[in-house]
Subunit: 344 residues, 4 copies
Amino acid sequence: MPDKLYFASDYMEGAHPAILNRLVQTNMEHTAGYGLDPYSEAAREKIRAACQAPEADVFFLVGGTQTNATVIDALLRPWQGVVAAETGHIATHEAGAIEFGGHKVLTVPQIDGKLSAETVARCVEAWKQDDNREHTVMPGMVYISQPTEYGTLYSLAELEAISAVCRDAGIPLYMDGARLAYALATPANDAALPDIARLCDAFYIGGTKCGALLGEAVVFPKRGTAPHFFTIVKQHGALLAKGRVAGIQFDALFTDGLYDAIGRTAIAAADRIRAALAEKGYEQALVAPTNQIFVILDPEKAKALSGKVDMGFWENLPDGRVVMRLATSWATTGGDVDRLIGVL
Amino acid sequence: MPDKLYFASDYMEGAHPAILNRLVQTNMEHTAGYGLDPYSEAAREKIRAACQAPEADVFFLVGGTQTNATVIDALLRPWQGVVAAETGHIATHEAGAIEFGGHKVLTVPQIDGKLSAETVARCVEAWKQDDNREHTVMPGMVYISQPTEYGTLYSLAELEAISAVCRDAGIPLYMDGARLAYALATPANDAALPDIARLCDAFYIGGTKCGALLGEAVVFPKRGTAPHFFTIVKQHGALLAKGRVAGIQFDALFTDGLYDAIGRTAIAAADRIRAALAEKGYEQALVAPTNQIFVILDPEKAKALSGKVDMGFWENLPDGRVVMRLATSWATTGGDVDRLIGVL
Amino acid sequence: MPDKLYFASDYMEGAHPAILNRLVQTNMEHTAGYGLDPYSEAAREKIRAACQAPEADVFFLVGGTQTNATVIDALLRPWQGVVAAETGHIATHEAGAIEFGGHKVLTVPQIDGKLSAETVARCVEAWKQDDNREHTVMPGMVYISQPTEYGTLYSLAELEAISAVCRDAGIPLYMDGARLAYALATPANDAALPDIARLCDAFYIGGTKCGALLGEAVVFPKRGTAPHFFTIVKQHGALLAKGRVAGIQFDALFTDGLYDAIGRTAIAAADRIRAALAEKGYEQALVAPTNQIFVILDPEKAKALSGKVDMGFWENLPDGRVVMRLATSWATTGGDVDRLIGVL
Amino acid sequence: MPDKLYFASDYMEGAHPAILNRLVQTNMEHTAGYGLDPYSEAAREKIRAACQAPEADVFFLVGGTQTNATVIDALLRPWQGVVAAETGHIATHEAGAIEFGGHKVLTVPQIDGKLSAETVARCVEAWKQDDNREHTVMPGMVYISQPTEYGTLYSLAELEAISAVCRDAGIPLYMDGARLAYALATPANDAALPDIARLCDAFYIGGTKCGALLGEAVVFPKRGTAPHFFTIVKQHGALLAKGRVAGIQFDALFTDGLYDAIGRTAIAAADRIRAALAEKGYEQALVAPTNQIFVILDPEKAKALSGKVDMGFWENLPDGRVVMRLATSWATTGGDVDRLIGVL
């Protein structure tokens, strides 16, 4: 009997072998802790170069929720909240981590997981026009994800428009890049890292879901954006004693184009699956161009397929059908895709 | 020219090779996230067995400050604070992480980093006797470290006495075991893991400073001690998506006595260094039996030695001399110790 | 030139004269602080009697936002949030006070400011059915206002249905009664204080907007519902040193039916205004039966009328017209209403 | 049988009659809420004049713990804590209100309740010199009380020295003036309101314990010191809907020298009591010059006297004797003092 196929998520394996190799090769070296080691510094330099942001402050944290909570806490003042799509990760699946830090998530409507510049502008303007605004939470920053929780992408023009609204309002724009590799590798994408660094005041380059064991690289393109961020990271319990564990991985990710290659592998696999689904007449809930595929199945088909393929449950539709999520990653092989297409 | 010697801390290298090997061997396996994988489950079972606590709830977090903040937040109610030595890690070097979570650290006097049962009893009793107690923060749990921040150890009798005071008062006893391997491996130690599990309501078995890349294993010996702890972990940004990264490491640490062996290696090295220091007439600031050595040097000697040995600065003495800390670990070889003794 | 008419809100004057008289009469008496005085105790007893809740814990706080934040913080555990209408006061006009305390407000849809039992049940059930629920904030209590922010009322049947859902789910129901006097005095109302005490786990009887200088009486019908609430009140900065300032006022409010009388005065005035508006052909945005009246005006009319009547701005309509709020209170005289009707 | 004498505290009565009269006289006037009324504005102007701080931002809050928590939260950034004497009110009797807001109280040694400039400088310097300072909480502001919790006073020279240390370090100095009237009225005092306004970055002029029903006036001598403070006040539940209740009282307190007169009455009474105690051979635990008297009694005497005089218990001495506190206020009459001296 053939093995089961694994498409449930993009964090089901360890690390990309090139990353793990670097951890093995450097294992017995002695280095300073807390990110002060040469590997972390090298990784910071490579990230600055990739972002064309030579002055950027770069920090390595462990996971996505932690990174969001820490950055948002660092950028907001007490009277401010963070504007996010009602489907945003911070608004839904972070167990109240932002509120634990004392801040309100100001949710606004979205389309396919995306905010529009108009929505952000309307939110900011509504606060400004409200005679009772001092009794309410001020929109103090904007949170977006690239790709979004639905796998969709902001175009460069859309990012420029949102950034312009934020700068006009004097509030920072923050991008959650948990799966940024997959955005960057999508052929349709026109927002490269330097664009993101130019348009955002803070963002993170995801490691955990893009081939690392763990780790997220926070980038503040403008030096000094978040004063005493090191202490805030510590206060949030987000400071690794062996900081090099993240630094070495990001050094590897930004050496010889590994981060790009990881993205391309996943996107190529996802594109083949999407094409096969379309060809075979499957309906997709949302045609997003990145590494997540949302296929609509009737219950019997979902059950049968689940016996062969490990998928993620997404949601039940009112008509009784179910949306399942397939995710590809650096670990998805051409053979895996062939076999998946074979059982569809 | 010989390489520098590294004794600055116990987290200057990667992981013990046996741990790293397990990460490599398992790297391409597909597992569920968030600690639901079989390696995490196996590690939990081995820890339960080592603690003789078959009902224990076991969770894997990333680092020490994070673990302290998360456990303390889970165990305290809003009107309570955590009692700690004025030298306790949570009171000094965690950047206010406990207060960030809304809780007061109620500091009390210590001797060589240790609390006594009498001190704890006095603190609890003072609150009970205070007519204004409802205007103050109630002592709601007790935090101790084994070994302490000064490398000293609680004896079994001392732990039993503190535990008795806590149980009498109806408040939990929590032990920070960041360096627990070194306590357990010290010949003079008489408090084994099952004793700790019997006497504490929560504790953590340190990984980061005891041979892992990262990771701390939180143990609640009594099932259900901290309801919804998984969600609290997530809320604190402490939940690893690839939870197996911690699980595999703890599985390795609790296989074939690795955790014990790591402790013994470090203690043997530290004992040899302490003996050599005594023999050569060096004064030690505190004779603690675990993996940390506190040697008093005059400034010139400190400077000279620092050129050859990477040590940690501990404190300046009023008489102008300086206390330097040497720490051993699993990575300290007999040759390192020989060379260190040679340059002393 | 006649004086301007004041209908902008129900907290534009000092206190009902009977209340102020009691403050004057008792002014030179010596009493214990922090609510331990005999007036506070008498007020507690009268409130218990009025609620037919002889075991109730009763506390006097200062203002509405403070009371909401304190009670919600006392009733929620860290992994829980409070369910509220998206228009609820805690979700909109409390400057993030709930989030400041670390808790998420879980907003759900409303109709005329009201939650339905079905909506609450759906929210609770959705959490229970969600495979990822441990990554999300658990609905841990339900917040409603009586009357709502729109002046509408829950019927007894509606309250019973919501209460049943909450009890079935094992989560407390909390009612914000900032303007409760006006609900109780509305002829159509069928939910009396004993009903509220029977159906809610916590509620407050509003003083500030119902004739007192300040003060809100928190009632936990079941003794011991919120352990150490006194300390939590202090921690929230909500404890009055001269606690009798609130106690004397509530003692007066619950003596000789003053709280009822205050409500009736306001409702009678509001009913006359509503009838006059209808008769004169004014459109009302929402016909709520309590002390707030929402009249739709075209801009010229709004401007002209604002010269004579101090009203509250409510919102701009898409068609260019504006909704203005008129509020009555204990201080609204029949003459004020006559004059207002005269200028409409 | 003569009535009991009341010296237990300075908040056992209502308000000074002149204050209550103003509340009565203005009761039926219609004013805007939230401190936007003309009485609050008049009070602000009078306070600015009394402080010789024409640009000052002045806000009226309700009570002391609330005011401390709100001001400290407004002035600290996340990586900072507040330096306070280990006996400071915020460190002991505020139920953890500062920590509830996420901030650490950095306690330092005191003498008779007072901090010295040297102690503050040492604390600031220790942080600067600490190589691990980024792992610790930065001293971000200094909290002092005038008079202190022990009734002692800072001299002008002492305040100037502390202020100089703070300004040199770039951190604000905040004074808790819960009983400021009694400091200002003490003959030995040489720090007047304009001095305080010149030397502190924030302070509050206490109302609750100085003759008002409630209310504390926060003064930021430099305009804009605490941005969006109104919203922070609201977020802390500290905003009075009927803001005039505080404004009218402070308007009265700063009209015709009432605040000074209240202080003088209390100090004259306290001075007479202290003199009588000395003459009759009583020992005082601490000779503080303000309105609190700390007398040492043996248990039988304490019991006997307590039957005639309502005093506050302060502490038990190791030798079995007890320290009782007598407090005077605006409400203490010459007759009260005569009778007290008679029974001593």
